[in-house]
Amino acid sequence: GAGVSQSPSNKVTEKGKDVELRCDPISGHTALYWYRQSLGQGLEFLIYFQGNSAPDKSGLPSDRFSAERTGGSVSTLTIQRTQQEDSAVYLCASSLSYSPNQPQHFGDGTRLSIL
């Protein structure tokens, strides 16, 4: 389709395992963003990419979180040694260009549950 695609849509895993979440942005969108939404909370910004570069990683909750983007397209968010507090919906968005004035378009998210 033409929208942002995320996979898997749902992921259940045991505490301590590593997980990898994937985001395929809208074709031609150079900027890509990761957010998460915990139960009852608003969306929390994690990291953005301009092309393959992530200039600011300070929004990542801990050093167990990492993200990469290759070829200016698909991005993966990896969580190592998952903890129960990592349970949330992880949302990816993309925008046409790197600009605060460009609307971000979201995927449907990955619902991550840590047992």
Partner: protein, 116 residues
């Protein structure tokens, strides 16, 4: 500290009437504001935005008003339709929006319920 606040967790409006959703912000560096609509199990969908140089932006049934001096914005939906029932998120961005130059700062959302 919440920089974008939506103080009404829910709002119930009769079909055909006007829905008014409110949002307040504290960071004076925000210069671009957006409203998103979210259905269950789906990602947020962009609705309408406004730059800080404007005080009103209209798109069909949706109008966003910005009062910079009060650090307040509102989304008006008129007339309200059953399909408008969803959670509405206010978001803001600016050079210092926190967590990175271009990360949006979101409110916690308002659940709008349109009564038939």
């Amino acid at each position: 500290d919440q920089q974008v606040k939506q103080n009404s967790p829910s709002l119930s409006v009769q079909e055909g009437r006007i829905s008014i959703l409110n949002c307040d912000y504290t960071n004076s560096m925000f210069d671009y504001f957006l409203w998103y609509k979210k259905y269950p199990a789906e990602g947020p969908t962009f609705l309408i935005s406004i730059s800080s140089i404007k005080d009103k932006n209209e798109d069909g049934r949706f109008t966003v008003f910005l009062n910079k001096s009060a650090k307040h914005l509102s989304l008006h939906i008129v007339p309200s339709q059953p399909g408008d029932s969803a959670v509405y998120f206010c978001a803001a961005s600016g050079v210092y929006s926190g967590g990175g130059a271009d990360g949006l700062t979101f409110g916690k959302g308002t659940h709008l319920i349109i009564q038939p």
